[in-house]
């Protein structure tokens, strides 16, 4: 079932990220509230709360700070798409919400390789995990309609270490409808 392949809770997604970053296992996660916000438990004091926050913390722990962007501009852009992920992608559940998200991303990715431009960042990783269940269900026609999203998604799922056990989403190389616009 598609549901089984979906990185459902934040904790599962963070486990995928840990592995991708090459961090040793051992972090303990809980969930909080109705939205099931992930919480990273720590031995001393209160833990860290929130997918974006914990993900950025793990990246720094793995000393891969470049995944958060290098310049002020890149860092802000990464933050923006992480926020988009936790507010719009996670908050949106209707077909209409999904359509708007794909449309937004398709326009944004028109002239970019990655969400933050030419560098692969945490925003690509978390957006990929967050959209996996959406992309799995798209029809061939929809994949063509959101061509830039499809190209980006296919690129990210082949990025070393990202996909792991998640299902590979198939994209057709040749366009079926040449006048698709």
């Amino acid at each position: 079932m598609a549901a089984a392949a979906r990185p459902g809770t934040g904790a599962e997604e963070l486990a995928l990220l840990e592995k991708l970053l090459g961090l040793p296992k051992g972090n303990k996660y809980g969930v909080q509230g109705e939205r099931k916000v992930p919480v990273l438990q720590t031995n001393n004091g209160p833990g860290l709360t929130g997918l974006m926050t914990i993900a950025a913390h793990l990246v720094k722990q793995a000393k891969k700070d470049q995944l958060l962007g290098s310049t002020a501009e890149e860092k802000a852009v990464v933050q923006q798409w992480l926020e988009y992920r936790v507010t719009r992608v996670d908050g949106g559940s209707s077909k209409e919400d999904v359509r708007i998200i794909l449309k937004d991303l398709n326009i944004h990715l028109e002239d970019k390789v990655y969400l933050a431009g030419n560098i692969f960042t945490l925003a690509d990783i978390l957006m990929y995990y967050g959209l996996h269940h959406v992309m799995v269900d798209l029809t061939v026609q929809e994949k063509e309609k959101y061509l830039n999203v499809s190209r980006w998604f296919n690129h990210i799922q082949h990025y070393p270490g990202v996909r792991q056990h998640l299902s590979n989403v198939i994209f057709i190389k040749n366009r079926l409808y040449t006048n698709g616009h």
């Binding site: 916000v37 926050t53 926020e83 908050g91 326009i107």
Partner: protein, 253 residues
Amino acid sequence: MRLRVAAGGPAALKVLAAAGAAAAPVRLVWGGPLGETAAAVAAPLPGREPVAPTPVIPAPQQGPPGLLPPAERPLAQLSPTWVPALELDSGTVLFSPNAICQFFFLARGEEPTDLTNQWLEWEATELQPAASAALYAQLVHGKKGLEAVEALGKLLAHIEQNLSRRGTAYLAGDAKSVADVVVWGTLFPVLQDETSLPSEMQALRTWFQSMTLSEACRKAADSVLMPKALLEFKSYLQKQPPPCLAMERATSN
């Protein structure tokens, strides 16, 4: 860089306060998706504050609908609802209010920490939806005082607990950070009526008042809210669909 804000758009407050607090040299463009009025003014520069209060931020003006000033490209090419928007000199457009605030602080070397990240994420996912609902209840349904901020109760308690447990003057430590500006900007329209602030939340009250009295926040509030008070917000909100909290949304259409 150009910062586009919508007159009466609630997020205008936090981005203007952040630009002021971080002394970012921005050109302001007032206007919604339909019209833009370019008003070139630099935000306060670092250094001494001027003695006399100078209006560094021009009053909101609505541009003629559908007409763009010549030689001005429209900002964000994305969904037109995305105001505020910050266009950087590179051409990159930031559309998330929190990312815009973060950029201003990053640009002067203030890096995010686990704590500032956590406050920003909490603000975007928890506080913001609840504050919009509370503001709607106040302005559109005419609820007053504590009744109007009912939906915010737990969230205000969260701030109170964090401030009193850490014993710091600001949310992420002893110095003001992007977290304070972002959280204040969302709370101010809802809490400026003093009766809305629960009296037992002493740490929250102290923090909130010190933020409200700070130069950057005061100027931003003056330009966005005063003297027309919340009428701007009201007319903006009345044009929007009623906010609904994510958890209340139907899971299917």
